[in-house]
Amino acid sequence: MSVGELLLSARGLDVERGSVRVLEDASVDLVAGEALAVVGPNAAGKSTLVRALAGLLPPAAGEVQLRGRPLRAWPRDALSRVLALVTSEEEGPDMLTVEDRVGLGRYPHRGPFRRFSPGDEAAVARAMEQTGISHLARRRLVTLSAGERQLATLARGLAQEPQVLLLDEPAAHLDIGHQLQLFRALDGVRQCGVAVLAVIHDLARAAAWASRMVLVSSGRIAAEGTPAAVLGSEAAGKAFGVRIRGHAVPGLPHLLYMFEEAP
């Protein structure tokens, strides 16, 4: 896996939930080491896109390829060793310790019966360190804040040691300190060559973090490119029904965004 290698590629995805088409003709590429933000208004199909890319929702048309091989040709456990999904919905059983929760991320590597190896232990310790929750290892999930639980879920994904990391609103419950901690963790794994795709609600945060951005609106990919290009596009203003203005600030590597209701 080298930076720039194409890892995940979706072509012409149609996804239906019930009989409703919620995603239409979506194509996305994800290369090793990049940070791709998926943005869009509520119910635009962002979560559907992420779940389809993770192989949880079979597309009605189109195909997702992981390292050049169609997703459905991957055995489920082999797929989970290469691709991890982290959502903000799953919280884990209350009485589970953080360490055990993160340890379940080793399931694709261990299966139902293999014992916990030193390699597993190292992966779990590393994942907790990267997410800054090593000090919480022995705590039960019920004693944590929502943000700490969310970081534990991310650590579970990192413990899978994936090459592709998909996240659905990973910062949903996080205060600003935990948010910065989370995006720093994502940058850490990205620098090791992991491809990271994250659905992010906060446009300013997404623009500051991502190297590339995809705008999903009404089930279609409405714009794609650098954050500045996507947020500066007409499609972005139309999708959210707002006016978006980016301001260059001396000393800041990215634009600072202001949002106003469209007249």
């Binding site: 489920r76 456990d77 989970s80 799953e90 884990g92 589970l96 379940l104 139902p112």
Partner: protein, 343 residues
């Protein structure tokens, strides 16, 4: 104390308490046997040193081996089985209040039992009542799977709702049959419905042991897939678990165990809720840790409850199901209050 230390202490304590309670429950009853005599007779039977050929006299021997021992062992099997079933279902449904009733086991078993009594089979054919109860439980579980699965994929919500509907339907059938049953037979059904182990013998022990021990063993082996499943469907699937097959396998095993327990003992409520709930803070929720501990705790609970059912009243036996409910319901109210306090 470290987590491993606390787990070990809990297991050792539960195993010790279960052993003592098994011996005491075997010795105590309407005819008391000496504890030392019981121990010596059992050692002799097992061919271990320290035994004695006939320490209790012929009547004592007969009570010990054909009445007390099978009953006490059956109590342990039923309690252990129901506690493990509760722990597994609570993880599968991700709800601390889940138990075998959700799958229609109790309702189906009651319908089967009432049918056997109504047709007069229970009094004329040996072992007909437990067999009919077991068949009823399995029929209800199949109905739940089939109906929930017919609407596409059997989701957790679909299973819950279907389970409630099928149980209600079985309950209605039971009421109708009860009314239509001749009066002198009704008492048999009522005794069975209330849950109890009076008059159970080795046949019951063997039948229950086959299902409970094999089922619990398989469930403990499947502990890790159970842990992954307890994280929720999406996360389990994204960790490579075949969610539907795993859930079907786990629910099938729990149905067999719960069906067997209910068939031999009738309704024994709250054991499946209480034992796992009390143990989760001590040993954690991972299957490999929780299920063995829950088995021991459930066994201990029902052995003691049955001892209470036999000895609390000198005039008649209390229904076992009533004793576990007398203990379980207040426990649950207190536990709920404590949860709220923690907020």
């Amino acid at each position: 104390m470290t987590d491993i230390g606390r787990r070990r202490t809990t297991l050792v304590f539960l195993a010790g308490a279960l052993l003592v309670s098994l011996l005491v429950a075997t010795a105590v009853g309407s005819v008391s046997l000496s504890l030392a005599g019981v121990v010596r007779a059992l050692l002799e039977k097992a061919g271990l040193p320290g035994g004695d050929a006939n320490p209790l006299g012929p009547t004592g021997e007969a009570i010990l081996f054909s009445v007390r021992l099978p009953r006490v062992l059956l109590a342990a099997l039923v309690g252990g089985g129901l506690a493990v079933v509760g722990a597994v279902l609570q993880a599968v449904f991700r709800n601390p209040l889940a138990d075998a009733g959700l799958l229609g086991v109790g309702g189906g078993a009651a319908l089967g039992a009432v049918l056997a009594v109504n047709l007069g089979l229970a009094s004329s054919v040996f072992f007909a009542l437990p067999l009919a109860a077991f068949a009823g439980a399995m029929a209800a579980v199949f109905a739940v799977y089939f109906i929930a699965g017919a609407s596409g994929r059997a989701s957790v919500q679909g299973l819950l709702l279907t389970g409630i509907a099928v149980s209600a339907l079985a309950g209605a059938g039971t009421s109708v049959l009860l009314v239509a049953t001749e009066e002198f037979r009704v008492k048999t059904v009522l005794f069975w419905l209330a849950g109890g182990l009076e008059g159970r013998g080795w046949t019951h022990v063997h039948a229950a042991a086959a299902f409970v021990l094999a089922g619990v063993g398989a469930l403990v082996l499947l502990g890790r897939p159970l842990d992954v499943l307890s994280l929720g469907e999406d996360e389990a699937a994204s960790l490579g678990l075949p969610v539907r097959a795993t859930r079907l396998g786990l629910l099938g095993l729990t149905s067999l165990v719960a069906g067997a327990c209910t068939a031999v003992a009738g309704a024994v409520p709250f054991v499946g809720l209480m034992a796992p709930h009390a143990l989760r803070p001590l040993v954690g929720p991972l299957g490999r840790h929780l299920l063995p501990a829950a088995f021991l705790a459930g066994a201990l609970l029902v052995v003691l409850a049955d001892l209470g059912a036999r000895t609390l009243s000198v005039r008649f036996e209390l229904p076992l199901g009533a004793v576990t409910a007398f203990v379980g319901a207040p426990y649950f109210l207190v536990a709920l209050r404590a949860n709220e306090g923690r907020g």
